[in-house]
Homo-oligomer: 340 residues x 4
């Protein structure tokens, strides 16, 4: 197999202009590894930050980006027992986090960061860092799960244990937020979605949003959300913005409420008054994607509920720069790149 | 108000033959009490056991039975703040269990046991032992919630935290089991229902059962259920039978699985091999209906999901003995008595 | 009893100059209340903030301050069952929080805030808002428990479940911090104490501090604390300062670590980088004293371990202003006022 | 190294008479393995059951028994990063359980069961299945930890979260029970020890037992234990007997109490009335030794508290049969075999 070539895209510098097709040799799996022919990959906001040199400013080039991939097992190391050739698998992004609290130092074995990225025809996953793709999903749909879906799932059902009937405030309509909305709608939670676009809010309602708030017309969206809950406040906030936004997120929480700190779209810091945190006995918890057992549980739940990931657009393997440009515009759901 | 009479049914001895209409004065609410005009009550298996002298053999007569009631607040004590006249409320059966671990000695203030029962036109609830009835339900539907629904809810979402995608084995089609099935179907759990009746299993499928097993044709129903889960076993069992049945319930559990011990339809003891409990790190947990906060959370979840309790038949207030006879035959869902 | 007079201290305006002795009638217990002759009270930092008009700027005068009191039951309402005359009891400060998540709106029934304070010879506690004082403690010692000890206990053992062998960073040597230190030393946790005073650090070591860090000589105390844990970081921080201090508190936490947000000695806001919270999956949780069940559990633990609260000084009932002045200087442990 | 011989003891049939010295070659570590020169091993009750053919009746001979070992790393596979030559390590018995819920099927990689036993001069541990031995312990002391200590620890602090001040009923004075007693005494729990020997009970008191009950003179030991807790019952039972004994264990539990099902000294089945389990909302949980992260946490706690394992006797490597005979007589604490 090593005679065949492995087509990929690599960064030769920061910025989308330095992203270019490349050909390398197909990697050879170690004893516990899977060789996987990639079918589809999906983009995350952090991929844009890496491309722009914001997240990993000291990286060395050439570098293959991206973390989310689905593919078919085409070869296995001699010690592999969890999978066989022909299985359709998803790579687990934090490869050394199987379950529980995980490694003391995170991101020493993370796909597309400290491990090679997946924007290539052939990639290698450790057998312990892969899960079966949900059979009900297409390749494009399945490719969206490893970061966006698992982050939303972990926030709601692994780190927290959301209970049916509770309320969840969901910020915007990016990848993580739409998965949170779909999970909420499917599993009995009341999703309150905020956006600056009435059109996007309409689409969120179609996906099952219980309430929709335009934060442009209601800059005091925390008041609007509290009103929607008869003054009680919401039980969960999935914070993807940070900074000043988080002040309102903390104000909107009900007694005993929980803020899952997920994203940094607005700012990489946060600040708040201490009083509401103490008085309402709030919990703020940092979320880092999640562990493999959570991934497996989520896939089972997706199958039960028949959830179909929201894809804004699928690009071809030749269109990678356009896909990144689409991501920068703020898609409604996920941007996917299909191989073959 | 005390000049009006309060129609009720009272036990003057054990057995349905000693259940008779009675007239008493309307009770007077204390400072923290609600006077409630009852609209509907529902029967539970334990009411039959009380009627037959099996559960409370030392009771004194006359005794007004039943614990589940919905009604309208028609009077309030002077210190009441949680409710007002006109509210439609459900009595919380374990009246002194608001939340948390609850009283060290249970059932010192339990409706229809150590507090007067609710089979009467007018009853008194402590304001701390009542919740608003879900607006989406009729009186008959709402009357079924206090014991059967809350027991199923507590087992799945308060004492345990069932996660979407998990499997729940549900025994039979009585009141608790059908609520467990409806909660499972609404909130992303896979409900496996056992019954001796193919017809009831068909109806269970209509309600959302993921698998249905006839334990008459499959006396090794634990093997059948394990096969249905690809050999992994189920995550939750709601045990309503006890005795020998529980051996199979323990065998069918997956690693880390949980048996909620709820009922004694078959036997008041249980026994098991220790090995599967240790090897699979199983949890067996006793369930006693639940606390008021759980009741409130459940009602919110019922509203979100639009769950309609399954009522086998509604009887008139004059037909109480027939309602008990129906209960003895093993209804599909709840038996209700409507007042007015 | 109402003919006797009730000596107390009342605020007639903000500032210690407006604190003056007063005489009122002895309060009359309601049906579920205890009349308690106070033996000792203790001061908390929030009492100083109330006195200075910082915490409750809109209060009406005259106002009896303080929340922590121990005393003897000298009368009981006719419905009281939990206590009897002669019992030595402590008032539970958040009177309507028995266990679990507690009231949706906190501080509607809090001693010395929305309920009358305890700086008086006779006070009334609801029977549900009192606990037996630990028999091993003197009156002065027992009076220190309701806020300072219960806050430290709740942070470590109710909201979190600290496990023997874990590390706890403790800021300063005020009331909450010294209880945290004593609990740590007694129950197998490694307490790391910070202070600006070597002398206080020496005394902290005598109380069982595992490490002591002078933040004047080590302004990078977070680095010093991390070094002390072989680079792993600490498992728990009890944050009593807020503001900029909290940046270091977040930096010092180990993977999966937890910051209990308790106090506002330095600032009423906080801010932080989001990255360590996400990367290390940190939890920040607001603490509000705690519930009555936690108080009971804590008292049992104090008895087992023979913990003696650290009292800096006991003042007489005539010396209340001096006691407040002592509090302002930053005592080592608690400041107590003895009655009798 | 492979030219050197590896002295061991092997079973050539069931029964102590078929246990004999053997010489094999020194095993060769794989890429992720440690070669360890064993310093001391300790015996567990399950080793006796294996020797007698009760636990693994279908094993093939020759077979090297035992699971608990401490030793020095004398060689490492080329991929090893967690340890280095010279480290003193303990093998983790359930080698594939790092943390969290662990493998779905237990005991596929368990030392002395499905992996080779440790009664040999040289053994191999996976680097992921070893922990550093606590520096404060001698080799003999450290060798007692992997099963007995970790089982007691997991029951109290991993599967449950025992809180200071709670009560723990401890059955007998075998290895697991004495560790439970020492943990209880060190970490603020009240240990109630039962035994048929007043002499052993005296020694238990020396180790910190809060109460001691001779079940020969008090066959109703559950009543005696309940009396000792002022009628409340105990919070935790560590059940090492099973069978009829467990009926009393369930009766003695307080509301919300927990029975950790650990051992089968008396019977491999259990039975109980369902009523106390439901009424007191009891939890029964099976315990299987524990995971590696728990092992690491336990070792940290042992260091903090300065706990010294109780060793009844240390035998030489030539005295293995006598050590097994000692185990059969019911030692007070652990039986150890020293290599040197």
């Amino acid at each position: 197999m090593s005679s065949k070539s492995n087509r990929s895209w690599t960064m030769n510098g920061f910025g989308v202009a330095h992203l270019a097709p490349a050909e390398t040799t197909i990697p050879k799996p170690g004893p516990h590894d899977l060789l996987v022919r990639v079918k589809a990959v999906s983009l995350n906001y952090k991929d844009r930050m890496i491309l722009d040199g914001l997240l990993m400013p000291n990286m060395t080039f050439p570098y293959t980006p991206l973390s989310d991939a689905v593919g078919e097992v085409v070869g296995t190391g001699e010690a592999v027992t969890r999978f066989k050739v022909g299985d359709r698998v998803l790579g687990h992004v934090i490869a050394d986090w199987v379950e529980g609290e995980g490694p003391a130092v995170l991101h020493q074995k993370t796909l597309g960061m400290t491990l090679p990225g997946v924007l290539a025809e052939y990639v290698v996953f450790g057998e312990g860092a892969a899960v079966l793709a949900p059979p009900s999903l297409s390749d494009a749909e399945a490719s969206t799960l490893p970061i966006a879906a698992l982050t939303a799932w972990s926030a709601l059902f692994e780190m927290a244990k959301a209970v049916p009937g509770e309320t969840v405030l969901i910020q915007g309509t990016g990848g993580v937020s739409l998965f949170a909305l779909q999970f909420a709608a499917a599993f009995g939670l009341k999703g309150i979605v905020t956006s600056s676009s009435d059109e996007k809010l309409e689409r969120a309602k179609t996906l099952g949003a219980w309430k929709a708030i335009n934060y442009r017309t209601r800059p005091d969206w925390d008041v609007a959300a509290r009103d929607a809950t008869d003054g009680q406040g919401v039980n969960h906030v999935l914070e993807v913005v940070g900074g000043e936004n988080m002040r309102r997120s903390i104000e909107v929480l009900a007694a005993g409420g929980r803020l899952s700190l997920i994203g940094i779209l607005g700012d990489t810091t946060f600040s708040s008054s201490i009083f509401p945190v103490m008085r309402n006995r709030l919990t703020i918890q940092g979320i880092s994607i999640g562990h493999r057992r959570g991934f497996e549980r989520m896939n089972a739940a997706i199958e039960v509920a028949g959830i179909k990931p929201v894809i804004d657009r699928v690009y071809g393997f030749a269109e990678v720069p356009r896909a990144f440009e689409h991501l920068a515009r703020g898609p409604f759901g996920k941007v996917v790149i299909a191989l073959s």
